[in-house]
Subunit: 130 residues, 2 copies
């Protein structure tokens, strides 16, 4: 059983965390039958933590967990904190296979997306004060 | 003359800021003749600031500046800090047209991109410790 875990930073603002949960719902829809479960976890400031989220997935019978870091740059979180949390999870659940994808910021689709975002704004000519 | 300004948070880590500069170079290539100049600015912790970057674009003759916030969530930076910086820029350069796009995190392409990132990782089955 394969699951997808979106790992976000977490925020003091509940609205920001809610954005992550809504994004996770969209991923769940897109995943169809490919992933048994699609969930999110927060590195800090919000729940569930990476440990808690993984514990839940394993308790639900998942044997393969694919982690997708929702981060824009290779800071300490991507370089150290997430790998450390996943090493701890592997030690705790040795029969589960953990895989980590690229983080969002290194996806080669991003420059194209940004140009599309720019193009949409240029078309709508939305003033900066709205 | 139209220019694109990617607005990032900025980091204490020079590597993270360098990622933004490299991304800006890619945007510049993609922009072709559509934008006269493509540049980046940082909200804090790195140079150039939004004010400095805009001053430079205006000094170079730009009359339309399209700002693209490179942020994942609608936190205080997106909701207040960037609009305030752009209001100040508009007051300083009243003949320049400023437009602000969606921030990256609200782009409707993001869920699809994340599923593609997940799909690539699942295919490569890269272990989490690499």
């Amino acid at each position: 059983m394969k699951s997808l875990l979106l790992i976000a930073h977490g925020s003091r603002r509940s609205g920001s965390n809610e954005e992550i949960r809504q994004l996770t719902s969209k991923l769940r829809e897109l995943a169809g039958a490919e992933y048994q479960q699609v969930d999110c976890a927060f590195l800090e400031l919000a729940e569930p933590s990476i440990e808690t989220a993984i514990d839940r997935l394993v308790a639900a019978g998942e044997t393969q967990i694919l982690c997708v870091p929702y981060f824009l740059a290779r800071g300490a979180h991507v370089a150290s904190d997430i790998p450390e949390a996943l090493e701890a999870a592997k030690a705790k659940h040795p029969s589960v296979t953990f895989t980590t994808s690229e983080y969002l910021g290194e996806a080669d689709q991003l420059p194209g997306i940004l140009m599309q975002i720019a193009g949409r704004a240029a078309t709508q000519a939305k003033p900066s004060h709205t």
